[in-house]
Amino acid sequence: MTRPEELLRRWVLDQAGPEAGWAAQSLDTLAKSGQARDLYIFMGLAPRRLGKADLRLGPDDLAAAETARPGWSPAGWSIDGAARVLALLIFPTQRPFAELFKDLRRTADVAELIALYRGLPLYPEPESLDFEVGEGLRSNIRAVFEAIAHDTPYPRDHFDDHRWNHMVLKALFVDTRLTPILGLRERANPELARILVDYAEERLAAGRPVPEDLWIPLSPFREDPKVASLLRRAGQEEALS
């Protein structure tokens, strides 16, 4: 099995064109030096040298990603974002990983934030990033929120029910889709169902549409009278069957 950092390195270098030499050398230096300054500079130079194009990935690449880390999908990652996550993965440090992450997150620009949070399923000591993930989820920058919530196994595997439920609710509030959230069915729970029923009733009372994918986490509770009544009122009887 190829490790995620090997895959990232291959994808970045394959697509780096004339900058491949620079990228390979910088990454090698970074892996040896352990100097924070080198890491900051690499993070800053990544989009300048490599550009911001989407990674070109074929079905084989996506399959390799799935094997390397079940649930991880690099589809839609950009080359600079991939290089930044890679740098963080290979950077040797004595500091706890969460501290290093925080140091970078505090001063991150938008694209850096997106990259840092997209890397979540790949980092060591995932439980220690609890606070950092909370900071990202509170962001009103939708793309940052989506970097945590969409197409990644991290929330499913590491969030407690409270955080999970509020992530789903916030997704509705920031007008983003629920379907790319991994574990939407498995992590359905009665408290979330209650929250979503309240939310949907509020929407209906205000004459606003209810997003369709809201029924996914509700469907396991379709026997519940409140859920059933709501589904009927919203014209979603088929979700009842």
């Binding site: 900051y40 500079i41 800053g44 300048r48 989407d54 001063t107 991150a108 620009d109 934030l113 920058i141």
Partner: protein, 307 residues
């Protein structure tokens, strides 16, 4: 006509302003790091401010289809707080290479003190090391001398005048700024800086070469449509459209584009990831349109003149 406002402190402005600017044809703007009115007393608040202008504010602008760039630096007023200044100087290199940072600025003199001079020079050295343009804030008081002195110091530190934008010029300073080869910024700011009728006369006299118009809109009484209104007034008063396009769009792009962080592509053909996540506008549809600031209900559009 596509417009750029190369000096706008959007952190102090509302979404109405973003909307009005987008409607008026502003496709990109530059937010220089500045004094927010209330002096900062912790290095950390300054650091978070810099994070805001490379992060949150960039996102906010993108929602209105405006590309947001910024400059980072220690402003002249706060340079006088030595403890703060030393701390900020340690952090600046980490921000100077962030995405969308097009210059070190706005830096320069306020009261022309020894501390202002020290941090101005240190930041000029940083800009030179990183090959970034510089946005120079010229003082409101003792302006003429302060402006000359700012250019002297830039030359002393070996900066190419073509990499330096001297901002807040007026009739008294423009000749020297242009003659010495610097870019000459003009802030169309009611009462204290430049009015747009005066600006039009300057364009008539000097043409468009190396002249840049900005609004400098901030927390004070100022007009985020300064560039759009100036463009419209200039066209009405017979300034050639090519000149107007240069001073309200092209020159800013050329000057700050030297950072490698700002290109027409950013708004005409943005990368896929930005189109999905960060950039709501479709400015291609707006391209080629005349500055549009006359919606009937818009209180601020009634007056074209900025005194």
């Amino acid at each position: 006509m596509m417009l750029i406002d190369p000096h706008a402190h959007m952190i102090s402005r509302t979404t109405d302003d973003y909307q009005a600017m987008a409607d008026a044809g502003v496709v990109a703007l530059i937010e220089p790091a500045f004094w927010v009115g209330q002096p900062r007393t912790y290095v950390g608040t300054y650091v978070d401010y810099l994070s805001s202008i490379v992060g949150w504010e960039r996102f906010r602008a993108g929602q209105f289809g405006i590309r947001h760039y910024c400059t980072v630096g220690l402003n002249s007023k706060e340079a006088n707080n030595e403890e703060l200044a030393e701390g900020v100087m340690e952090w600046l290199p980490r921000f100077a290479l962030k995405e969308g940072v097009v210059a070190i600025g706005e830096i320069g003199y306020d009261e022309q003190t020894a501390l202002e001079d020290r941090y101005f020079r240190l930041q000029l050295e940083l800009a030179r090391e990183l090959a970034l343009p510089v946005m120079v804030h010229t003082p409101h008081r003792d302006k003429k001398r302060g402006t000359s002195r700012s250019m002297d110091v830039c030359e002393e530190h070996g900066l190419d005048p073509g990499m330096v934008i001297i901002d807040h010029n007026n009739e008294e300073t423009v000749a020297e700024t242009l003659q010495r080869g610097f870019w000459a910024g003009f802030s169309i700011y009611p009462s204290t800086k430049m009015g747009n009728a005066r600006m039009v006369e300057i364009l008539r006299q000097y043409g468009g070469e190396r002249i840049i118009v900005d609004s400098a809109c901030d927390w004070g009484i100022s007009d985020c449509l300064g560039v759009a209104k100036t463009a419209q007034l200039a066209l009405e008063r017979g300034i050639p459209p090519e000149t107007v396009e240069r001073v309200c769009y092209r020159n800013a792009l050329e000057a700050y584009g030297q950072s490698g962080q700002m290109a027409e592509e950013d708004w005409l053909n943005p990368p896929a990831i930005d189109q999905r996540t960060l950039y709501a506008g479709n400015s291609i549809l707006r391209g080629g349109r005349e500055p549009h600031i006359e919606t009937p209900d818009d209180r601020r559009a009634r007056r074209l003149l900025i005194d």
